[in-house]
Subunit: 144 residues, 4 copies
Amino acid sequence: MSDSLNRSSTRTVFKIRYSETDQMGVANHARYFDWFAEGRVAWLEERGERYAKWEQEGWILPVVDAQCKYLQAIRFQETMEMIIHVKKFNPRKVIFSYQILKLGETDCIATATTSHVFLNQGKVRRLKPAYYEVFTRTPKRLYQ
Amino acid sequence: MSDSLNRSSTRTVFKIRYSETDQMGVANHARYFDWFAEGRVAWLEERGERYAKWEQEGWILPVVDAQCKYLQAIRFQETMEMIIHVKKFNPRKVIFSYQILKLGETDCIATATTSHVFLNQGKVRRLKPAYYEVFTRTPKRLYQ
Amino acid sequence: MSDSLNRSSTRTVFKIRYSETDQMGVANHARYFDWFAEGRVAWLEERGERYAKWEQEGWILPVVDAQCKYLQAIRFQETMEMIIHVKKFNPRKVIFSYQILKLGETDCIATATTSHVFLNQGKVRRLKPAYYEVFTRTPKRLYQ
Amino acid sequence: MSDSLNRSSTRTVFKIRYSETDQMGVANHARYFDWFAEGRVAWLEERGERYAKWEQEGWILPVVDAQCKYLQAIRFQETMEMIIHVKKFNPRKVIFSYQILKLGETDCIATATTSHVFLNQGKVRRLKPAYYEVFTRTPKRLYQ
């Protein structure tokens, strides 16, 4: 599994919640974006950063573009894994990509990307260097 | 319908969204609390107040207690009406009650109450008199 | 406003709910996809169809691809309008596009597209002709 | 911590997600009910049962009554623990209670109860004995 993991990627494992299903009997497509947000939090965590702290200091990373391809449906109580990867970054912007798989399987269930700007006091700004450096930092694996 | 409306109550009409269903094929029980929140917003609106403005001025009304009885299931795309009523209030606290019905029917689908304190700068305080007076104000009906 | 409305488009008006905000103080980006789903329901409704009925008959329209560009933030209690448009369709697939604006303003707040297949008993199929015909039907405006 | 754990209780640990916050800057009160639902799933899991399987066999446990007291606010990225306990049960009904604490602390953040009936083919029925027996079964701890 970890083949797909490299220095700029992080892996998380999570279960589909009942409240994430809709009457189609599968996880609702909009909920995937909540999981991606948690993936970014985990990506930062593996590099020693808490997104909650970034926000307290005024740095927020709003989504400016999001896209997701849904390849297979996911059901309640299934265990999924997600690979989060930084695709591109510069001092004002970062693009994350995501792959979701059923745990222990190799078929991709969904692929996605989200683009974010670094915002501070309502304006896009060059991210503070101490934070920007996170994009080149070697992760300390929290999830194997 | 409007028998149940009096000076301290407000009525809203809304439709069940697809994203509010779960795989039981009915509206998820937790989503009802989102509707109650919108009911409170409408209740204030009929009395000339915007909750968004209260928050900007530092007055927030967190829920300290919530309860709901679910009498019948509600389905996607059904149109519901809700009667929101102030049950009790004092300068530091307010209790709202809610009844949900299918539009044009008399059977109650759900009944609920939520209790709120008036919080400002992290502390329960006596609500500013100009705002407190809303609880005795006569509503100007926005929804018939 | 209605310049942008044509035979294949529908317009809805909605308010941002408190439960749709997150701690960034604006509507959470994932919630937009819930609004798009309601837009599709309204689009069908203006053409005399209930999506709830399509589902009961076994026709579901899962999202296979979704993308959204977020141009400006949206706040709680703001009133928005959305133009929903069928961009492409064939007997097995339909692509909707969406534009969100603040009511009465001309700046676009968000643009999006979602692609859907016509699924019945777990397989992509040619949509039943009586339903397929909806894509060429003239709408009866429910929202002006 | 585990003092409060007994044969009829289960403990879970979870983190507050960004999408669960609202613009009050804390976890939205309605989201707690999603966590309680996950708590019930975990409670069954520790007793060898999958709720997904119960549903496939036609047994659903809709909420007929829910109440929650909110004692302290919870913030994004905080780690919480939840004690789920069966308070009462009979062949047609079960009442769960919940306590939420910050991980490693003793103050209660929220307490709640939810009541459920055993529904099959649209009617309240006596739960199948093989399932009913779960309420007296000794759990196999999945979370310490």
